[in-house]
């Protein structure tokens, strides 16, 4: 069952090269500061860094101690300090405080700031304003693509979503273009390009400009990946806000998969220690169940466990026990989820709900509401509106564990973004005759129990089928994207039929595991293989957090 690739599925390119490139560059940068040094790492960069270079590699290159960049004075006694940070003003202040404290104490050390994936002028300006521009040396670690799995590349930039879709800050677009440029240098040009969304279009244009400027040798190269599809997250918030019911998505919603691995706390492992598990295609069991609807998983796992227990020795058995334990715990959670799912949502008086929300979570969420409104996730509506049957069917799947705020947001969102019309046009809510057999999915809707085909995935499917946006004018209009839907097909006879069945999908603003599962399913049906590039893995909770205002 589960996830056998079709025999004729095209081979994926080898993305481990990206890791090697990143590692070599980091080592080079560390060597630029010869001698022993302490390394300060920003918390957000720790997990990605861990996937690239472990502590022993760092030690080999004379990194003495590792510190986390946080709001505490550093106690490093090293003569050389190296900072590995995201280009954020907050970090610049941290460094400035440290350097200035040294200056006051009459201490001179060497400081090096390594920005990942790139440095911004604003950061340098802050260093200058703080009077330490001359004291530190700056470098860039162009580490923008982390292969989380054989078919999944993440930029690990969760802030992309808030920066672009809420604040309208376009600074990451250049990073995206650079990353795409890197891919085309390594894996050849992309003969067929499609995209939708303002950010997609800008990224694409900037990327093409980069390609033109460089008289690159990649121009004559054979393409390895035949298609690229760029998609803005704001084309489809609905899918991202839905509770996930495929296994990997569920694990992400419940335990939060971080950088391709998940930490199971003591309550899951039933021991004192927490357990870190890497979740990717190398884990045979996981790769078989990751894309399954959760209702199939338990049966499959117990079957698997029986088989395994018969075959393996006791030591292995321990793992299985843990696994079983985990699954049963997991299912406990699931039942609750299920309960939540079956709750009918009764439209409430929005105002009183909002008041109560502020009363219980604090007034700063007044700003959160304002953020949601700005991003188009929330529109105020007159009280007393009732949800139509179809909306309630979709919103059945929607839940937010943090608070019940989404329900209203969602229903109004549905209104504003013409969701109803689009879903009719693209047949997102398939008519179900009888029971939907989740064991033998018949379409991408299986990732939401057969109730809803993810809009993002449907768009991709439709465009790939047509090799253009032709005939989708109405959908594009409903998405308010007439200017921002593009196709760019190069007549390329060098592209092999193999490569033409490989599709790189770029999610600007994040994608969910459900979308990944749905597209993997689509690929299996059509004989394609999808490769995913996302600014970060996301889900409903993460999206909401990005919108939330938190007291510092």
């Amino acid at each position: 069952m589960a996830f056998p690739h079709r025999l004729d599925a095209p081979e994926l390119p080898d993305f481990s090269m990206l890791k090697r490139l990143a590692r070599d560059q980091l080592i080079y940068l560390l060597e630029q500061l010869p001698g022993r040094k302490d390394l300060f790492i920003e918390a957000d960069l720790m997990s990605p860094l861990d996937r690239i270079a472990n502590v022993s590699i760092l030690k080999q290159h004379e990194v003495d101690k590792l510190y986390k960049v946080e709001n505490k004075p550093a106690l490093s006694s090293s003569e050389q300090l190296c900072f590995l940070v995201r280009p954020r003003i907050k970090n610049m202040r941290y460094i400035a405080n440290l350097v200035n404290a040294d200056k006051t104490a009459g201490r001179t050390r060497k400081y090096k700031v390594i920005f990942s994936p790139q440095k911004f002028y604003a950061c340098e300006m802050v260093l200058e304003e703080e009077g330490i521009y001359g004291d530190v040396s700056c470098d860039e670690w162009a580490f923008s693509l982390l292969p989380l799995d054989v078919d999944l590349l993440s930029m690990e930039l969760p802030e992309f979503f808030r920066d672009y879709f809420l604040e309208g800050d376009q600074r990451w677009i250049n990073t995206v273009a650079q990353a795409l440029h890197l891919l085309s240098t390594l894996y050849g040009p992309f003969p067929n390009c499609y995209g939708i969304g303002r950010c997609a279009k800008m990224s694409y244009e900037l990327w093409k400009k980069l390609e033109d400027e460089e008289d690159s040798e990649s121009k004559g190269r054979r393409p390895e990946i035949g298609h690229i599809f760029l998609l803005d997250r704001d084309m489809d918030f609905v899918t991202a806000l839905c509770s996930q019911v495929v296994y990997e998505g569920l694990v992400d919603d419940t335990f939060r998969i971080k950088c391709g691995s998940v930490d199971f706390g003591p309550e899951v492992t039933s021991s004192d220690k927490s357990l870190k598990v890497l979740l990717n295609a190398e884990d045979k069991v996981f790769s078989e169940i990751r894309n399954e609807h959760f209702s199939n998983v338990f049966g499959f796992l117990s079957q698997k466990a029986r088989n395994l227990q018969a075959q393996y020795d006791r030591r292995r058995g321990m793992d299985i026990k843990q696994m079983k334990n985990f699954v049963s715990q997991e299912l406990k959670g699931l039942k609750q989820e299920h309960r939540l799912l079956s709750l009918r949502l009764i439209p409430k008086d929005y105002r009183s709900l909002k008041t109560q929300y502020l009363q219980s979570y604090g007034p700063e969420h007044l700003l959160t509401f304002s953020n949601l409104r700005r991003a188009g996730l929330l529109t105020e509506q007159a009280p007393g509106d009732t949800l139509t049957a179809m909306e309630s069917k979709v919103s059945k799947l929607v839940t937010d564990k943090a608070a019940g705020k989404i329900t209203d947001a969602f229903s109004s969102l549905a209104k504003r973004s013409n969701f109803r019309a689009i879903s009719k046009k693209l047949n997102l809510i398939p008519r179900v005759d009888g029971e939907y057999d989740l064991k033998v999915p018949r379409d991408m809707a299986y990732v939401f129990s057969g109730a809803y085909v993810p809009l993002s995935c449907r768009i991709i499917e439709q465009v790939l089928e047509r090799r253009s946006w032709q005939g989708l004018d109405e959908v594009v209009r409903l998405l308010n994207c007439i200017e921002f839907a593009f196709t760019d097909i190069t007549k390329e006879d060098k592209a092999s039929s193999e490569s033409l069945r490989l599709i790189l999908v770029v999610f600007l603003g994040g994608c969910t595991f459900s979308e990944i599962s749905a597209l993997r399913f689509l690929g299996r049906e059509k004989g394609y293989r999808f490769i995913f590039l996302t600014t970060a893995i996301t889900n409903s909770a993460r999206l909401m957090e990005a919108m939330s205002e938190v007291k510092a």
């Binding site: 600074r171 244009e205 009363q359 219980s360 007034p363 007291k551």
Partner: protein, 839 residues
């Protein structure tokens, strides 16, 4: 060919010197060379002449003319000299003409007589005037050395990076030295000067006396001195008619020659080639030219005309009114091949090839002879090398033909040297052409490199030839054609008589999208010439916005720069422009500019959020964006303000803003928060503990947990917390406290608006089934089964379910019948079901 060696003159036993004509000059000289200041640049460079009216005691009423010619005598520039008296002329390594004035000012002109810049050699020089000056070349660039009227030396080793150095004084020096020169070794410049019979060496700090070893006695004065091209050797001409030659270090003597002429020579220069053992100097008097080396005899030439010597890397150029000649030591390869009765392999090969052309069998004999000695490779190499040293194309051809002929009989002769020589000679012949007038020898060309040669062609505005050479040599476009086209364009923008449109169009037509061409560089040049509009037009062709922006900023087209930066999508670039604009414009205009550029605005806002909160406020104020202003003050109320009064004030401002934004809800919520803050403050004062910054519900909870039920209720009333919510808060707090007694009292205080199932649930959650059971009886009938199941009373749950005759409830209870004790209950349910079905 018989007379090929006719112009060879032996010097001693081992070397020949030959002199051949480069050009017959057809310049129209108005004055004799001897009446002019003359400067000729090395490497076949241009010649500058300035008739020196200041030397003669004539009235300075007539302005002199500065003329610049190519080495072949083609006029390049002619301008009326309007500045002060000039003491000396010289060419820099970049082929710029340095004119040293009497007052120590140095005026720099381009090859075409265009004034470039000027600099001064310092106050001391200005005061004491310039007596004499020399322009010299070092590894740093070109230097100027000056002898002042006070008999002191000032020099700068690199005029590109002017650092003046005043040399130490020569003790007791009363008169000007009879001759002097600059010496460079180990990156230090020295001055060697002769005063009477003494030689002094000046370095940066000291003055020392030096004596040339083995100098013939009786010298009372040195009349002339010469340093070799590479500063390695020195020659001294004494008043006794001796020429002393030795290394520049003066450590030993190479040779000494008595020329029996005591008259001071006009010029003395070294004539030697790199890697040759032969050393010789060329001495010129009015009518006589003498080549002197380590040999008892010298070579003598008669000078028919007033002539001028130009030292080169591998020989000496001699030009006069009518001719331009080159004098050099015959290179080894040529000597071997052409020496009379030479049996060198190259000579035989040349012979063989000639016979072959005559279809004579002798060709085979010669070839066989070479092959028997196994010297064919050497022969070919010799012919190739000798071809390089020939000036006449016919000789080059016959030598190359011989080489090519010999190559046929070799299995594995790498073709590179032959091919490269052909290419190099083609380039050399092209630039040596009379119209171009750069008489480079092969050695000079190799020393100069093709890049520099191209630069020099560009400098002479010989763009088509330069491009042809690039294409012929297949140089990469970026280093070759594109670079030259860019230079051409930079020249083109200076043509002031052509309109902006025409220039821009012409440039774009020629350059197109040639890789490596930077339109912004050309635009920068146009701007440098004061053609801002043209610069903007040219920038339109620049595909890289990043390159457009800095120049636009420089030209004060900041707003255009901003839109270009935004177009580029590079936020860093936008930011650069923003900061520029911020400094350039007043605040109001700056904000107005931002208003029209949403992308820049959001970028700037983001920055302000972190760095300049006040500016952010101003931005919102300007836009009358009350909603955002409100949000801004809300954030300030908990992020920026510490004191409670400040926080309340911030909230008040926020509330006002929300009212203006017609966001009544937010305004009300903000006002509630103000009340809450004040109240929390009071609570802290009266009750102690931490209340500030808790949400309303948390405040209520905290009060209940602290046992202040009255206050909690008062608070709930004040803020109109719905009854249901209050009950929930109370319920959870009391359960958390495990204050079961109070909970029970509370449950009885009035009818619960949330029912009693939550009571059961929360007790079970706290693992207190005993307490939970107390509430089961009060749970509403439709929830009773659930409640009973929660407390584990399956039997009673079954009874209730049966009573309700509810199928769903029955199944639910049944699913809970797991233990052995529940067997009876399960049966009971089954029976009830069966009964129900019967009915």
């Amino acid at each position: 060919m018989d007379c090929y060696t006719a112009n060879w003159n032996p010097l001693g036993d081992s070397a020949f010197y030959r002199k051949y004509e480069l050009y017959s000059m057809d310049w129209d000289l108005k004055d004799e060379l001897r009446d002019c200041l003359v400067a000729a640049a090395p490497y076949g460079g241009p010649i500058a002449l300035l008739r020196n009216p200041w030397r003669k005691e004539k009235a300075a009423s007539m302005r002199p003319v500065l003329e610049i010619y190519s080495a072949s005598g083609i006029p390049l520039a002619s301008l009326l000299w309007k500045s002060g008296p000039v003491v000396s002329l010289g060419w820099s390594a970049e082929e710029e003409l340095l004119c040293v004035q009497e007052d120590g000012a140095v005026l720099v002109y381009g090859l075409h007589g265009d004034f470039r810049r000027h600099f001064s050699m310092g106050n001391e020089v200005l005061q004491n005037r310039v007596l004499d000056a020399q322009i010299f070349h070092t590894e740093f660039g070109s230097g100027v050395a000056i002898l002042t009227g006070a008999h002191r030396f000032t020099l700068s080793a690199n005029v590109g990076d002017l650092k003046l150095r005043r040399m130490p004084e020569v003790p007791g020096l009363q008169s000007a030295p009879s001759c002097w020169t600059t010496l460079c070794h180990d990156r230090v410049t020295h001055i060697l000067l002769a005063v009477g019979p003494e030689l002094y060496l000046l370095d940066h700090a000291t003055c020392s006396t030096v004596t040339p070893p083995g100098l013939a006695p009786g010298v009372s004065s040195f009349l002339q001195m010469a340093v070799s091209f590479t500063y390695r050797h020195l020659a001294l001409f004494t008043d006794t008619g001796y020429i002393w030659m030795g290394p520049a270090s003066l450590k030993e003597k190479l040779c000494e020659f008595n020329c029996n002429i005591r008259a001071p020579p006009k010029q003395m220069v070294w004539c030697s080639r790199p890697r040759s053992k032969e050393r010789a100097v060329v001495v010129a008097w009015e009518k006589r030219l003498m080549v002197v080396g380590d040999a008892p005899e010298s070579i003598q030439f008669v000078l028919d005309e007033d002539s001028y010597l130009v030292p080169e890397l591998d020989g000496v150029r001699i030009f006069s009114r009518s001719t331009h000649e080159f004098l050099h030591e015959v290179p080894v390869a040529s000597e071997e091949i052409f020496k009379i009765a030479s049996m060198a392999p190259g000579a035989l090969l040349l012979e063989a090839q000639k016979e072959y052309e005559k279809e004579s069998q002798k060709a085979d004999e010669y070839l066989r002879e070479i092959q028997e000695l196994g010297q064919l490779t050497q022969a070919v190499q010799q012919c190739i090398e000798a071809a390089g040293h020939e000036h006449r194309p016919d000789m080059q051809k016959s030598l190359l033909r011989a080489a090519s002929f010999g190559k046929c009989f070799l299995d594995r002769f790498p073709p590179d040297s032959f091919v490269h020589m052909c290419q190099d000679l083609r380039v050399l012949n092209a630039v040596r052409d009379y119209h171009i007038g750069i008489p480079l020898t092969y050695s000079q060309y190799k020393q100069l490199t093709i890049q520099v040669l191209l630069d020099r062609l560009v400098l002479r505005r010989l763009y088509p030839l330069a491009i042809q050479i690039c294409e012929y040599l297949r140089l990469p476009e970026v280093r070759g054609v594109s670079r030259i086209l860019a230079h051409w364009a930079c020249y083109k923008v200076q043509q002031k008589d052509v309109s902006d449109e025409d220039v821009a169009r012409a440039i774009n037509q020629k350059l197109g999208d040639t890789p490596g061409v930077s339109y912004s560089d050309i635009a920068a040049r146009a701007y440098g010439c004061g053609r801002t509009e043209l610069a903007i037009k040219l920038l339109e062709y620049e595909p890289r916005s990043g390159e457009q922006v800095p120049l636009l900023l420089k030209m004060k087209r900041s707003k255009l720069a901003l839109s270009k930066a935004i177009e580029s999508g590079d936020t860093d670039l936008v930011f650069t422009v923003l900061l520029h604009l911020k400094n350039e414009l007043n605040r109001g205009d700056f904000f107005m500019t931002l208003r029209n550029q949403p992308m820049a605005l959001s970028l700037y806002r983001q920055f302000c959020k972190h760095q300049e909160l006040e500016t952010l406020k101003d931005l919102y104020n300007q836009d009358d964006n009350h909603q955002e202003l409100g949000s801004f003050h809300i954030r300030a109320s908990y992020a920026a303000e510490e004191r409670i009064e400040g926080r309340v004030a911030a909230l008040q401002t926020a509330a006002d803003a929300f009212y203006k934004a017609k966001n009544e809800f937010a305004a009300k919520a903000t006002e509630d928060q103000m009340r809450l803050l004040r109240l929390q403050r009071r609570l802290e004062d009266e009750l102690g503990g931490q209340f500030l910054d808790l949400s309303l519900h948390d405040t209520v909870t905290t009060l209940i947990l602290g046992g202040h039920n009255k206050r909690a209720e008062q608070l709930a009333r004040d803020f109109r917390i719905p009854d249901k919510r209050l009950w929930w808060l109370k319920l959870t707090s009391l359960a958390n406290l495990e204050d079961w007694e109070e909970l029970e009292k509370f449950s009885k205080s009035k009818k619960s608006p949330i029912g009693y199932l939550p009571f059961v649930e929360i007790c079970v959650k706290q693992h207190n089934k005993y307490e939970a059971k107390k509430y089961t009886s009060r749970v509403a009938p439709e929830q009773k089964v659930k409640a009973l199941l929660l407390v584990g009373d399956v039997a009673q749950a079954a009874d209730v379910a049966i009573e309700h005759r509810n199928e769903a409830e029955l199944s639910l209870v049944l699913s809970h019948c797991t233990g052995a004790t529940d067997g009876a209950t399960a049966d009971k349910i089954q029976r009830a079901r069966a009964q129900a079905q019967k009915k």
